[in-house]
């Protein structure tokens, strides 16, 4: 998933190890909790619809994890086990059957939705049908492997997923049949887009009208212009602490409208407990010194990168793409993001501490495992060999401070390589879809990718497979339009090997990572970290690699 307003950054994970790089406020899990009170959260703006099957933003993924449940979920812990999938509404994790093409889930008994109705197998089937009927944003990428999904994607209104999701009410089981084995299936249905909703949920975007869930909280009211109020779900009883623990605060108020600067001041002063948006750059030094005890910094499994259109000049020439990779001073760009304590230079696709990650950087002054310095001579030689110098290039950035700053720097780099470069900042709300659509003829852009689920396929297959490239679509997440049949084949082999032999699968994914990095459809810039600022009264700040801050596990004094 992607960054904030569009795709979310969410979950992006974290470095498996060293999750709490600098976390003076984290990790107090052993403290005695104090139930009650109101948690006050701030965000610049609301993130749109609160329909959990549609919203694809970090902002609401984070709250959907305490409002809704899936059959399985990621463990809600603040260490590396937070990447592990555990049973949630299902009694236990199913074993893959039929060579990895079949999963049978048995539902827990006695679970109720916030409106008091019982959870049944019919709700599970209806929820998966609904995902397709309302054309959920990930149905074509994450859930297209379910039997019947093809038909549902073509004619969503009549979707039945016949043969794909089968309920047995008497046995209280739901069986999922896949077209082909998918080692990441359980992870894919652990995100909020696979939340189980009442069968009566509207077959359209619910917008600002809340849909009952099974989590410890429910939405009491939602006004995107001012406030999202969450209160305790009166029908919630904790059934699994690791999947969905009961929450501490009685109420969670999410207010919208304050600027980042004002939000920082409010949290510093204890008028609010947490802010969603990253603190503005000119407050970082102050936060790192005067308010260090209220700050936590965590590495993410994410990347900032520069997609280059492999089907448009001059980037349809691999030498040009490699030249850009060689020319970029990643240490300088890290400064624009806040410095080396907030980002690490990188030039490969998979982030550090991610499954199948092996350090690799061919585009540096001294190729090896780590980026050290730009190699401008080599970059200029490659451009000269390509004969493309003098061509016009337009960079599309978001209109945010960091994205624009990186764009201005990149413009400088490209001009230095001999191109005539202009830069177009576009509203953050539309830039992500704009750069995906081939009709807009975007040559090069600035973007970010945050993990949806902790598997290499989420970076490599989702972003760079031929299947992820859909010309003319706003949802063509393969922004570079990169399609290499031989690499695609390797991805398939890695996927298949992961089921039979996970270790071999991991090796194959590592090889795919290197192959994609060498082909340079993008220039990876750095791996970011997240800065969380919390109030002095907020205790037990638990940061999950998958969910980020687990708000239900904090309490206020």
């Amino acid at each position: 998933m992607r960054s904030r307003n569009v795709f979310s950054a969410m979950m992006a994970g974290v470095g498996l190890a060293g999750l709490m790089l600098m976390a003076p406020v984290t990790g107090a899990a052993a403290q005695e909790g104090k139930a009650g009170g109101t948690l006050k959260l701030l965000a610049n703006a609301a993130a749109g619809t609160i329909d959990p099957h549609i919203n694809y933003t970090l902002q609401y993924f984070q709250i959907n994890y305490v409002l809704y449940d899936g059959l399985v979920t990621f463990r809600k812990t603040g260490d590396k086990t937070g990447f592990e999938v555990v049973a949630d509404l299902a009694e236990s994790l199913p074993k893959p059957e039929d060579g990895g093409k079949k999963y049978v889930f048995k539902l827990r008994k006695g679970i109720k939705f916030a409106d008091g109705s019982d959870l049944t197998t019919a709700d599970v089937v209806a929820s998966f049908q609904r995902m397709f009927k309302i054309s959920g944003p990930t149905t074509g990428t994450l859930y297209n492997g379910i039997v019947g999904a093809d038909t549902c994607l073509k004619t969503p209104a009549t979707c039945t997923l016949e043969g794909g999701v089968v309920a047995d009410e008497a046995a209280s089981t739901v069986t999922f049949n896949l077209v082909a084995p998918d080692p990441d299936f359980l992870q894919k249905i652990s995100i909020p887009h696979a939340a189980i909703l009442p069968a009566e949920a509207p077959l359209k975007d619910s917008g600002t009208a809340p849909i009952p869930g099974t989590g410890p909280y429910m939405i009491a009211s939602y006004d995107p212009n001012s406030l999202l109020k969450m209160v305790r779900n009166p029908h919630f009883k904790e059934w699994s602490k690791e999947a969905q623990p009961a929450g501490y605060p009685d109420e969670i108020d999410y207010s919208f409208g304050l600027t980042d600067e004002a939000a920082v001041t409010a949290v510093e002063n204890g008028q609010a407990d947490w802010m969603f948006d990253p603190p503005p750059a000119d407050r970082l030094a102050e936060l790192g010194t005067k308010y260090a005890k209220q700050v936590s910094v965590h590495p993410l499994t994410a990347m900032w990168y520069v997609p280059m259109n492999t089907n448009l000049a001059p980037f349809n020439d691999i030498r040009v793409r490699q030249a850009v990779n060689y020319a970029i001073d990643r240490a300088a760009i890290v400064k624009l993001f806040g410095g080396s304590n907030l980002a690490q230079p990188s030039c490969q696709i998979l982030p550090p501490d991610f499954p199948s990650y092996a350090p690799y950087c061919p585009f540096t002054a001294n190729p090896g495992e780590k980026w050290s310095a730009p190699d401008l001579e080599k970059a200029k030689a490659l451009v000269a060999a390509s004969g493309t110098a003098g061509q016009e290039v337009t960079i599309i950035t978001e209109d945010t401070e960091v994205s624009k700053s990186i764009g201005v720097y990149l413009q400088d780099v490209l001009n230095g390589l001999g191109y005539k470069t202009s830069i177009k900042p576009i509203s953050q709300n539309i830039q992500f879809t704009y750069i995906q659509n081939t009709n807009n003829k975007v040559q090069i852009s600035i973007s970010q990718w945050f993990q949806d689920y902790p598997a290499p396929s989420d970076f490599l297959q989702v972003l760079f497979s031929c299947a992820s490239f859909t010309p003319g679509s706003d949802a063509s997440i393969n922004i570079s339009g990169f399609c290499d049949k031989s690499i695609d084949k390797k991805m398939g082999e890695a996927q298949a090997a992961t089921i039979a032999d996970p270790a071999k699968g991991a090796q194959l994914w590592t090889a795919v990572d290197k192959a994609v990095t060498d082909a340079a459809p993008v220039a990876v810039l750095f791996t970011p970290k997240r800065v969380d600022l919390i109030s002095p009264r907020l205790k037990n700040f638990v940061f999950s690699p998958q969910f980020y801050w687990i708000m239900s596990q904090s309490w206020v004094e």
Binding site: M22, E261, P280, A281, D282, R283, L284, A285, E286, L287, G288, T289, K290, A292, V295, V297, D329, A331, A332, I333, K335, L336, G338, G339, N341, L342, T394, D399, E401, K404, S405, G407, V408, Y409, Q411, D412, S422, I423, K424, P425, I426, V531
Partner: protein, 373 residues
């Protein structure tokens, strides 16, 4: 006096004076335009002070206006000297990033972007003002660029855009207003409705809408192509949006002039419409247009700054005062000078333009009450 004598401002003054027995000490004659309350200077005696000279005398007597004019000259000169300043004083390219730059201040080498070394060591702070007439006099922005040099370059672009857009606006507005008011009938109805439609849009809404639509693509008007990213794009947009606000008062003025005695007289003696337009109407419209110049310049400057601030005006790495304010927005807490300096420049320039505008109005058209928006 004859009708011809009244209507022809080019006529020999001696002939004119012969037609009427004016007092010997009369310097010039004012024929009052009853319809608008403005003065219409038709002719003067030989050696008497002409209307332009009178206006200039009045303007020179207005100390505030002269001071404002002086300030504008200074700002313009400083902006024009931007390349010299960048090369010889700042010794930097104000459009190139300088993220790894260093500078020696008081014998100490300092980074242009200074990392925070205390506490958690988060963030970078651009170099602050040195206040020396040299590199980084006003400090650096978040790309490590010299703010003072960019301020001067920004002034060039802001003044250029405001000036060029004013020319487009006033040229189009004068054309439309005069044609509409002079020819009347269907032409007037058609042009007036077009202006009404434009008028119906709030200025900034129209400007922002046009900018968002046009910013990523070129405009092609016949053989003319305005490429995206070109300064001509904001010039064109800003030049268009204020046209109705100038054209309508001019049309009204023309309609009033058409009722004036000297025009009636010209018609009576059989002067051709084009002659009346060129020799009776336009000379009297031009004074009002001149009054509009500083006001439109000021409005254009603010509009340009607003559009650039919203990223839909001047595009990076080019600078205008609006883009520099935007650059400084993220540094308000740590380096407020980056946003304050261009903000102050805009305030001073717009204030000077407005004061000068008042002076020009008092000199040329003292009874008018021009309000553009």
């Amino acid at each position: 006096m004859s009708d011809q004598a009244l209507s022809d401002p080019r006529r020999n003054d001696a002939q004119s004076s012969a037609a009427v027995a004016f007092p010997a000490d009369l310097k010039f004659i004012l024929i009052m335009d009853n319809s608008i309350g403005g003065q219409v200077l038709v002719r003067t005696r030989r050696g008497a002070e002409g209307p332009w000279r009178t206006a200039w005398r009045k303007l020179r007597a207005d100390r505030a206006a002269i001071m404002a004019f002086g300030v504008l000259v200074l700002i313009t000169a400083a902006s024009l000297a931007a390349p010299l300043y960048a090369r010889h004083v700042a010794q930097t390219d104000p459009f190139a990033t300088n993220l790894n730059g260093e500078i020696v201040i008081d014998g100490q080498t300092r980074q242009v972007l200074e990392p925070s070394t205390e506490g958690l060591g988060l963030g970078f702070t651009p170099l602050g003002p040195t206040w020396d007439f040299g590199p980084y006099m006003l400090g650096a922005d978040n790309q490590g660029r010299d703010v003072a040099a960019r301020l001067l370059y920004g002034g060039r672009n802001s003044l250029l855009i405001a000036g060029a857009a004013a020319l487009i606006c006033l040229g189009l507005a004068t054309l439309l207003g005069v044609v509409s008011g002079f020819f009347g009938g269907l032409v007037d109805i058609l042009l007036s409705r077009i202006l009404d439609v434009l008028w119906a849009f709030p200025v900034f809404l129209l400007a922002i809408s046009l900018s968002i639509v046009l910013i990523t693509q070129s405009i092609i008007i016949g053989p003319i192509e305005i490429r995206s990213g070109s300064l001509w794009l904001p010039i064109f947009i800003i030049g268009i949006v204020y046209v109705p606000y100038v054209a309508r008062p001019i049309r009204g003025h023309v309609l009033s002039l058409m009722q004036a005695e000297f025009v009636t007289a010209a018609i009576g003696i059989g002067a051709s419409p084009w002659r009346i337009l060129l020799y009776d109407i336009l000379p009297n419209v031009i004074t009002r247009v001149i009054v509009f110049v500083p006001l439109i310049l000021a409005l254009n400057m603010m509009t340009e700054s607003s559009l650039s601030f919203l990223s839909i005006g001047v595009q990076p790495p080019d600078a205008s005062w609006g883009t520099i304010i935007q650059d400084g927005q993220g540094l308000l807490y740590s380096r407020p000078i980056v946003a304050l300096a261009p903000g102050l420049a805009i305030v001073i320039t717009v204030l000077a333009l407005n004061i000068l505008g008042d002076g020009v109005r008092d000199a040329l058209d003292p009874k008018s009450s021009i309000r553009v928006v």
